[in-house]
């Protein structure tokens, strides 16, 4: 018993020593871990001291833990049954027994009570009793509100081979969602909880992680010669004959992730006082400059537009080709990107992934939303900022591809990804990640959200939107907001800045784009220029009929507009006259159709809906404009190129003759 009190005392002292930095978060789940990697048996053994605080008003009888590695224990786990593991990842799992597991071998509380005999797996999401990704740990006593508990446990894990986000291949290791990790106890009033409750989902194929903030102090024992990249900062490194122990610490984060390999080449550069650490394999070091440039730009952009990056490091891993299954992931202060030597420099995958994963430091690492329950708040907002950053960095027209004269911008890429998918009206944004069907998760959570956020920006203006995002970040950083918290911020800013335009706030908008599956499509159907007939009949006298020319405008012009989709948005209409003058009109977009009648001295030659492209959510841009004359000259240039291409193809085919 004394030993536990002594350990607890040491842990508290060490936590206090670590906690020299300003306290940014509630620090509910704090870990001190010692981990050993056995590179021969592909196993991890860990000793964890968890200090966990009950911040609710309920006494707590048990804790729930994630045992993520059990998702890859066998083919019966929920992760596998959901069946979204790419074939190329799971193909050799049987050949080398790449399956994994994770188990707690002993667990005790600070009183010395052995909790091990009562631990058992539970399945809060489905009835799949074969799934062992959530472990229930009944406590020896009720943990009163406001009290802390210290649990000390030993655990072991077999490392999976090439599983999504984590695992090993050859001498490359990436440990993400890897250690026994306590779930989130949501007190009454937090997010959607009406009473205190655990939020600890099983590990699903679609869906990442949700956790409380805390401090981490992690020692990693790896074979000598291995370089470790990790969450946080390296505090010390010791060695014995065959191994080296790397100790990392990081406060106020929701997770801890690391990677190791004997082949890593490490480069460090600085943005102000943030160390940007880049880890890659020797054959990819020529990408270092590109990574460093985009990371510095991201840090600067997010600092200027959202808020400062509060941590001392950001580590970027560009895995080798055999580790590509771990590319494109985000964890606190460490991200993985992906590059392949097949891609020419003009294909900006590397920058896109690096920027995207870095933005997650803000949206879901600091503003710690629940990715599995509300993926749009994480992936969608991130995709929105990804577009902004890449457009600012490369230019709007070439931020995704700029090669051989072919340019593709991030914004247009997003639109295509969504509107070309089957997800266009399949699911609202409010489903849990694992509830999306028919491949609609990505297009809905990522692309649709980015598009409707851009449309929101178009409606309320760039300044209001910037204020919304800054306020949202500032208010909810180091907390767990849900969608209503975001919507509240939007309404608050809009009612302050745009009250005249939107006196009832923006709920009507979110009902359509977030909670609904409405499709936006406005169309200009036709334009007419009618010459005003002279006035006829008994005009000035009852004695005889007269005819008088109309004064002023000789034309009555009409533009017939239709709402083809079920989404209703206010739209602007730009009208161009023969003399080159342009006028802007607005329509509330509510009815199924609208006729804009204008008395004019000039004929209308064309009309354009949404001329400033404020509504990228409009599905069809072709019918957004109409001219009274045919545009066949432009199409014939295009068709002549296509024809010429086809003729060359024909000549190519017959060259074998």
């Amino acid at each position: 018993m004394k030993l536990y009190w002594f350990l607890f005392f040491c842990f508290c002292v060490s936590q206090n020593l670590i906690a020299q930095d300003p306290v940014l978060s509630p620090r509910i789940a704090n870990y001190k871990m010692h981990i050993e990697l056995d590179a021969d048996t592909k196993k991890l053994s860990g000793h964890t001291i968890l200090r966990w605080k009950n911040t609710s008003n309920n006494p707590i009888e048990y804790l729930l833990f994630h045992l993520y590695y059990n998702a890859f224990k066998n083919s019966e786990s929920t992760f596998f049954k959901e069946g979204s593991i790419p074939e190329f990842l799971s193909s050799d799992i049987d050949e080398v027994c790449g399956w994994s597991w994770s188990e707690i071998t002993s667990i005790k509380d600070q009183e010395g009570n052995d909790l091990t005999p009562n631990i058992h797996h539970v399945q809060p999401d489905d009835q799949n009793t074969e799934d062992q990704t959530v472990l229930k740990v009944p406590l020896a006593y009720s943990l009163a509100p406001g009290e802390e508990i210290v649990l000390e446990f030993d655990w072991e894990a077999k490392i999976p081979k090439t599983m999504p986000r984590t695992g090993y291949n050859k001498e490359y290791y990436f440990f993400a969602q890897w250690f026994p990790k306590v779930g989130v106890y949501e007190p009454a009033g937090m997010r959607y909880s009406t009473e205190g409750q655990w939020n600890c989902h099983q590990y699903h194929a679609n869906g990442e992680y949700y956790a409380d903030f805390g401090n981490y102090d992690v020692s990693l024992r790896v074979p000598k010669g291995y370089t470790v990249a990790s969450t946080g900062s390296l505090k010390e490194k010791t060695e014995d004959s065959n191994t080296e122990t790397w100790r990392f610490t990081q406060n106020d984060v929701i997770d801890f992730t690391w990677s190791t390999s004997p082949h890593f080449v490490e480069t460090t550069e600085w943005y102000k006082d943030v160390a940007i650490k880049f880890y890659t394999y020797p054959y990819k070091t020529d990408y270092t400059k590109r990574y460093m440039e985009i990371m510095k730009f991201c840090l600067q952009y997010m600092e200027e537009h959202v808020g400062p990056y509060p941590y001392k490091t950001i580590s970027v891993i560009d895995p080798p080709v055999h580790g590509l299954f771990t590319g494109g992931m985000e964890y606190p202060t460490i991200i993985s990107s992906l590059s392949l030597k097949f891609f020419p420099e003009g294909v900006k995958t590397l920058e896109t992934l690096a920027a995207h994963e870095f933005i997650h430091q803000y949206f879901m690492q600091m503003v710690a939303t629940h990715e599995m329950e509300e993926a749009w708040m994480d992936e969608g907002i991130t995709t929105y900022y990804e577009g902004k950053i890449l457009n600012a960095f490369f230019g709007e027209k070439c931020s995704t591809i700029d090669q051989f004269g072919i340019t593709v911008g991030n914004k247009e890429w997003n639109r295509t990804e969504f509107f070309n998918s089957s997800a266009i009206d399949l699911a609202p944004n409010t489903l849990k990640s694992y509830e999306y069907t028919n491949g609609s998760y990505g297009p809905t959570a990522y692309n649709k959200t980015a598009i409707w956020l851009e449309t929101l920006e178009g409606l309320v203006g760039a300044e209001s939107m910037a204020e919304i995002m800054r306020t949202y970040f500032d208010r909810w950083k180091f907390k767990h907001p849900c969608r209503t918290d975001f919507l509240d911020v939007v309404d608050e800013i809009v009612l302050s800045n745009n009250k005249e335009q939107f006196p009832n706030g923006m709920q009507w908008y979110f009902d359509q784009v977030l909670f609904g599956t409405a499709v936006c499509d406005y169309s200009i159907e036709h334009i007419e220029n009618e010459i005003l007939e002279p006035k006829r009949g008994f005009l000035n006298t009852l004695d005889n009929c007269t005819e008088e020319e109309q004064e002023g405008s000789p034309f009555i012009c009409s533009i017939f507009i239709r709402r083809l989709g079920d989404m209703k948005l206010p739209v602007e209409i730009e009208v161009s006259y023969e003399d080159g003058v342009k006028e802007l009109y607005t329509w509330d977009g509510q009815n199924k159709s609208h006729e804009l009648k204008i008395h004019s001295s000039q004929k209308i030659i064309s009309a354009t809906l949404d001329p400033e492209f404020k509504l990228p959510i409009d599905k069809n841009l072709i019918n957004n404009s109409l001219s009274i004359s045919s545009k066949s000259k432009a199409t014939s240039t295009f068709l002549s190129e296509i024809r010429s291409g086809f003729q060359h193809v024909l000549e190519g085919i017959v060259s074998i003759i």
Partner: protein, 289 residues
């Protein structure tokens, strides 16, 4: 045997046969127009009066292309149309290639059409057979490359780096180019053999095998390809550098010129091979004498 003078002789014949080449080019254009007509109708219907159409005339525009492909359904409805046209064009060119065999060497301008049509029908089946054999040979090369690449490994997860795969793919592409180049020489030998011996398949293959690796023919084939490539590259740069500062239609004309050059190339190539063969024959006879 001077390669350049052989080539020059082949070019001189153009003065006689150019109407036939122009006719073949005209048919190619016709196919182009026939191909484009349903697309044009579809485009006129969807974006005929939309200002969006203007984006099509301003170089590559991803949004414009993807919107049009989405809203018009793209080429998916036209695939059988496209395959049908390509097949028809293929058969037409079997005929023209066969026809070329009748107008090799110097001819009177008055008789070339007759000779072209007669040879076209006479050698049609022979050229078809040679073409299928060429396709078979090329497929063998492709298969070999596929098997070798597979054996060397295509699974990215099993590689230390992707550099080896990239190198292997580059080597495979080079090999396929060389293989295709050699098949071209072999095929031309077969064609010329058909004129002398008719379609005696195995003897034709045997004769072609005897001669196709001769340095003179390889050099001549290379010279032919190099001249065509040079012209196409020149046209490409001219087209790129003109950009939008040219009169409407100039870019299109340059595109058509490059098609015409490819048609001309096909004739010059077989004609120069013929000239070289004749020159070699007379050289051999002189030596025997």
């Amino acid at each position: 045997m001077n390669i350049i003078s052989t080539y020059n002789n082949a070019i001189k014949n153009l003065a006689t046969v150019w109407p036939i080449l122009a006719f073949i080019f005209f048919v190619n254009c016709l196919f182009g127009y026939v191909f484009i007509s349903p697309l044009k109708a579809s485009l006129d219907e969807t974006i005929g009066k939309s200002l969006f159409a203007e984006r099509l005339g301003q170089g590559f525009d991803y949004t414009a292309l993807t919107e049009i492909l989405r809203e018009t359904g793209g080429l998916s409805g036209l695939s059988s149309w496209l395959i049908g046209l390509a097949l028809l064009y293929f058969l037409w060119n079997i005929f023209t290639s066969a026809g070329f065999l009748g107008i090799l060497g110097p001819h009177s301008k008055l008789s070339i059409w007759n000779k072209f049509y007669q040879a076209g029908s006479k050698y049609f089946l022979s050229i078809l057979t040679i073409t299928f054999f060429s396709i078979f040979l090329f497929s063998l090369g492709l298969l070999a490359v596929g098997v070798i690449l597979q054996a060397l490994g295509l699974n990215l997860l099993q590689m230390e780096t992707e550099l080896a795969l990239i190198r292997n793919i580059k080597l495979a592409v080079v090999f396929l180019f060389v293989w295709r180049f050699l098949i071209g020489i072999f095929r031309d030998h077969c064609k010329l053999d058909v004129i002398d011996n008719g379609l005696a398949f195995w003897s034709m293959i045997k004769n072609a095998c005897k001669h196709f690796l001769s340095s003179h023919y390889i050099l001549l084939a290379f010279f032919n390809v190099a001249i065509l490539a040079l012209f196409l590259i020149l046209l490409f740069f001219l087209k790129s550098s003109l950009g939008e500062f040219v009169l409407f239609g100039t870019i299109g004309l340059l595109g058509q010129l490059s098609i015409f050059l490819r048609v001309v190339y096909r004739y010059i190539r077989i004609n120069s091979f013929h000239a070289l063969k004749q020159s070699k024959l007379s050289h051999d006879i002189e030596n025997e004498d």
